[in-house]
C-alpha cells in the first residue's frame, strides 16, 4: 500500500499527532518514559526532541526501505535501525550535552523499545511514502514532546515550585511533593487524558439499549426483557 497516509492530506498527517492522535494522551503509548522523565520541564524537552529525532529518522529510513525489507525480518530490521539512531543521539548528547545525557539516564537507551517509534514504523512508515512518513514522524514526535512538556510543567511547578529550574517563590516552600513522585505522575497523567478526551468530546463507547442504562438494575422493564417476558 502506498498513498497519502490516511484521510485529510499532508497538514492533517502533521497535526493529528498533536492532539487528535496524540501518542501519549490518546493512543496511550510511551507511558514509561512519560512518567519517569516528566518531573522537570527541561528533561521533558530533551527527551521529547531526542525521541522526535529518532522517530523522524526511523520513519524516513523505514519508508525508504519498505519495498526492500522482507516481511519475515521486518521487526529485527526496524529494531536495528532504531537502535542505531538512538545510539547516535546518545553519543552526541554524551559528547556535547552531558548534563542532559546524565539527567535522561537509562531512559535514553530505552527509546529503542519505545512503542511509539516501533508502532509508527509498523503502522505507518512501512505502508506510506517518505514525505508522509516524515510528516507523521514530526507530528507524533511533537505530540510526544508537547504531552511531556505539559505534564512536566504541571509536576515541576506544583510539585517542586520551579519551572525549567527557575524557582517560583511561594510554591518553592509550599509544593505538593507527591506530584514529583510516581503516584503524582499517574494522577497528572490521568487528569490530562480526561482533559484531552473532554476537548475531543470523546467518551468511552456505551452499550446500546438497557445494557447502557444506569438504572437497569432497578428497572422493571429491563428485568422483563432479561427474563424474556418483553421483546
Amino acid at each position: 500500500m502506498s498513498g497519502n497516509g490516511q484521510n485529510g492530506g499532508k497538514p492533517s498527517i502533521l497535526l493529528r499527532g498533536l492532539i487528535r492522535e496524540n501518542p501519549v494522551l490518546v493512543l496511550i503509548l510511551g507511558t514509561c518514559p512519560t512518567l519517569a522523565v516528566s518531573t522537570q520541564a527541561s528533561n521533558a524537552i530533551g527527551m521529547g526532541f531526542a525521541a522526535t529525532f529518532v522517530l523522524v529518522c526511523s520513519n524516513v529510513v523505514i519508508s525508504l526501505l519498505r519495498n526492500v525489507i522482507p516481511d519475515k525480518v521486518r521487526i529485527p530490521c526496524y529494531i536495528v535501525l532504531i537502535a542505531g539512531f538512538v545510539t547516535v543521539v546518545q553519543t552526541l548528547l554524551q559528547a556535547y550535552v552531558y548534563s542532559l545525557y546524565e539527567a535522561l539516564g537509562i531512559y535514553l537507551p530505552l527509546i529503542v523499545v519505545n512503542c511509539i517509534i516501533l508502532g509508527r514504523a509498523e503502522m505507518f512508515a512501512n505502508k506510506n511514502r517518505v514525505a508522509d512518513s516524515l510528516l507523521d514522524g514530526i507530528g507524533m514526535g511533537l505530540g510526544f514532546t508537547l504531552a511531556l512538556l505539559v505534564m512536566a510543567s504541571i509536576r515541576e511547578i506544583l510539585g517542586s515550585g520551579s519551572w525549567f529550574g527557575i524557582a517560583i517563590p511561594w510554591l518553592r516552600k509550599n509544593g505538593i511533593s507527591v506530584l514529583t513522585m510516581a503516584p503524582g505522575g499517574f494522577i497528572v497523567f490521568g487528569c490530562l487524558i480526561a482533559l484531552v478526551y473532554r476537548i475531543l468530546k470523546r467518551s468511552p463507547p456505551k452499550p446500546e439499549g438497557c445494557l447502557g442504562c444506569p438504572v437497569r438494575d432497578t428497572c422493571v422493564k429491563s428485568k422483563k426483557i432479561a427474563s424474556g417476558e418483553e421483546a
Binding site: V68, V73, C77, V80, L81, G84, V88, T91, A95, I106
Partner: protein, 181 residues
Amino acid sequence: MIKPVAVLLAICIVIAGVLAALNEVTAPVIADATVKRTETAMREIMPEAYGFREAEDAPYGSYAAVRGAYEALGADGETLGYILNLGAKGFNGRDSITLIALAGLDGRILGTRTLVNGDTKGKGDLAAAHIEAQINASGVDLAGAEAVDAYTGATISSNAYRAAVIDAVAFVNEYWLGGAK
C-alpha cells in the same frame, strides 16, 4: 531464505559503519570531557592541592575498582593525600557507578564524591548519599570500609560502593604505604 538474511546483514553493516564513524569524531571529545570532570571533582574534594601527580606503574590489575591513582601535591611539592578514580559494578553493569575517593596520609579514606551514578534513579542516589555520609563523617580504614552499612532497597548499589572503597583503601596501603594497615 537468503534475501531476508542478506538484507538484515546489510542493514547491520551500514549502521555499524555509521556508528564507527560517529565514534571516531566523538570519542576524543568524550574522553576530554571525562578528564575535565575528574579534575574538577579532584579539585573540589581537595581544594588545597596545587597539583596532582598520576601514580606510575600502579598495580591497577590487582584492584578491580581502581581506574586511576593520583598524589595530591602541596605548594612545595609535598604529598597532601591520595586521590583514586574508582569504577564500581552496580545494577547496570561494570563502571555504572564512578566515583573519586580521597585518602589521607595514613591510608584512611576521608571522603568520596560520585561522578556518575548510572543505577536506578532515586534509590541509587539515596544509596550513594547514605554511604558517602558514613565515610565522610570520620573516614574509614579497611575494617571501617567493610563495615559500611548498605542502604535498604539498594543492596547492589551499596555493595558496589563498599567494594570500590575497600579496593581504594587496599590500593593506597599497598602502593603508597608499603603494605601498612
